[in-house]
């Protein structure tokens, strides 16, 4: 059970951003991706999560093992906290949202509609979804945006508990998560130099 990324090149909107990216994650390991804005962190994570094809290289991990969390939390504002989480629990075929509510400190909010949550509370709900998925590989894009210091620490604990259970985490972030054991990969050296020649061609959308 490993996540292997070898010689990966990825592009966004026809522009090659990264090339030659390679890393490997084994159970109980976390990798933090760093790099300036626009260097391709999100694109790399979307490629790893299978949302877009790689230009070159490959991502190998067991099927259905990745839980992806993007900038947007995917919350339905008119549903309550518990309803939002229960939906994802049903989609992933896992039972019970109690542990997730407890770990992200959402128990007191469970009956409240998501539209009445603060930005930080929404983010916590979005992250609670990860616990509900029960998947071993967490791919997280800026997970701590709009979280306060207490919640960042809470989230650090959740990630640590996930790793202790044999999970893996691939995290793009600019701030310190309080995870000293996590490896750090700076994406700056992997900046693509060869322009992607497929850009702008009509067929690109279909390949």
């Amino acid at each position: 059970m490993r996540l292997n990324v070898t010689n990966l090149a990825c592009a966004r909107g026809g522009f090659a951003l990264l090339e030659g990216v390679g890393f490997s994650l084994s159970p109980a390991q976390a990798l933090v991706l760093r790099g300036p804005n626009g260097c391709g962190k999100t694109t790399l994570l979307r490629t790893v999560a299978g949302l877009q094809p790689a230009l070159a290289g490959e991502v190998s991990c067991p099927p259905e093992s990745i839980a992806y969390a993007a900038h947007a939390d995917g919350l339905k504002t008119t549903l309550s906290v518990a309803e939002n989480l229960s939906f994802w629990a049903a989609v992933y075929g896992t039972r019970g949202i109690d542990a997730a509510l407890e770990q992200m400190n959402l128990r007191a909010l469970s009956g409240r509609a998501a539209q009445n949550l603060s930005a930080g509370q929404k983010r916590r709900l979005g992250l609670a979804r990860l616990i509900v998925t029960g998947r071993p590989v967490w791919v997280l894009d800026e997970p701590t945006v709009s979280l306060d210091a207490v919640s960042v620490a809470l989230f650090g604990d959740v990630v640590r508990a996930h790793l202790a259970g044999g999970g893996m985490a691939l995290i793009a972030t600019h701030i310190d998560l309080g995870l000293p054991e996590a490896d750090i990969l700076d994406l700056t050296p992997f900046k693509a130099t060869i322009p992607h020649h497929g850009s702008g061609q009509f067929d690109e959308a279909f390949l």
Partner: protein, 218 residues
């Protein structure tokens, strides 16, 4: 999958979910037409099948852009794409939820509106049958159009332009069923063609919609 259907229906019924929008449009249209055309029963009875079908079609069109746009904006479409449900299943469920919240209510209220438009009594059954057979195709084709335009800001107009030509066969045969039923003629051929269009659309279009969504999410 069932969870997704339940969620979509729940969202539709909650505040701002848009349930009843198509229905209200359909009602208003059927009430306005006699006011505009005049109260002559002969004329109304003759145009009723066409009016009711065009009304149903436009009512379906109204809520199409919500099918994927909301999920795309709040990021849940990305999350659904990485979830252990096939995208073909997701688009089929979305189409089904759209039909249950838009098409089915239209089918159920159509006889009442037929009354407003002096539709001959023998055509009521055919009106309900043709809408019941035809509106699923409207939802499935509309879902394909919504998949094509997902991610475009204000893609609603483009969506209408893309989808309306694809609705023409359903409209032609649906209205034909009612018109022939009203005159007491044989309706077997248009009914079969209408059912065939729906069956073909339901069987094939979810694959196209799923592919288009995957491309649009890149």
């Amino acid at each position: 999958m069932i969870a997704l259907l339940v969620r979509d229906l729940r969202l539709a019924f909650r505040a701002g979910g848009g349930f009843g929008l198509g229905l209200a449009f359909f009602l208003i249209m059927a009430v306005l037409v006699p006011l505009g055309v005049g109260p002559e029963p002969d004329i109304l009875a003759r145009i009723a099948p066409g009016i009711l079908w065009v009304g149903a079609l436009l009512a379906c069109l109204l809520s199409l852009d919500r099918i994927f746009a909301l999920d795309f904006e709040d990021g849940s479409l990305d999350l659904l794409a990485t979830a252990p449900v096939p995208m073909e299943g997701v688009v089929s469920i979305k189409a089904l939820a759209h039909w249950l919240t838009t098409g089915l209510p239209l089918v159920l209220v159509s006889p009442v509106l037929g009354l407003l438009l002096y539709l001959p009594p023998q055509a009521y059954g055919w009106l309900v049958l043709s809408l019941a057979l035809g509106t699923p195709a409207l939802s499935v084709i509309g879902t394909f159009g919504a998949a094509l335009t997902v991610g475009l800001k204000r893609g609603g107009l483009l969506l209408s332009l893309l989808v309306l030509p694809l609705y023409i066969p359903t409209l032609v045969f649906g209205a034909e069923v009612v018109a022939r039923g009203a005159q007491g003629l044989d309706v077997a051929t248009p009914v079969a063609l209408l059912a065939g269009i729906t069956a073909g659309a339901v069987a094939l279009l979810p694959f196209a919609s799923a592919l288009v969504i995957r491309i649009n999410l890149r």
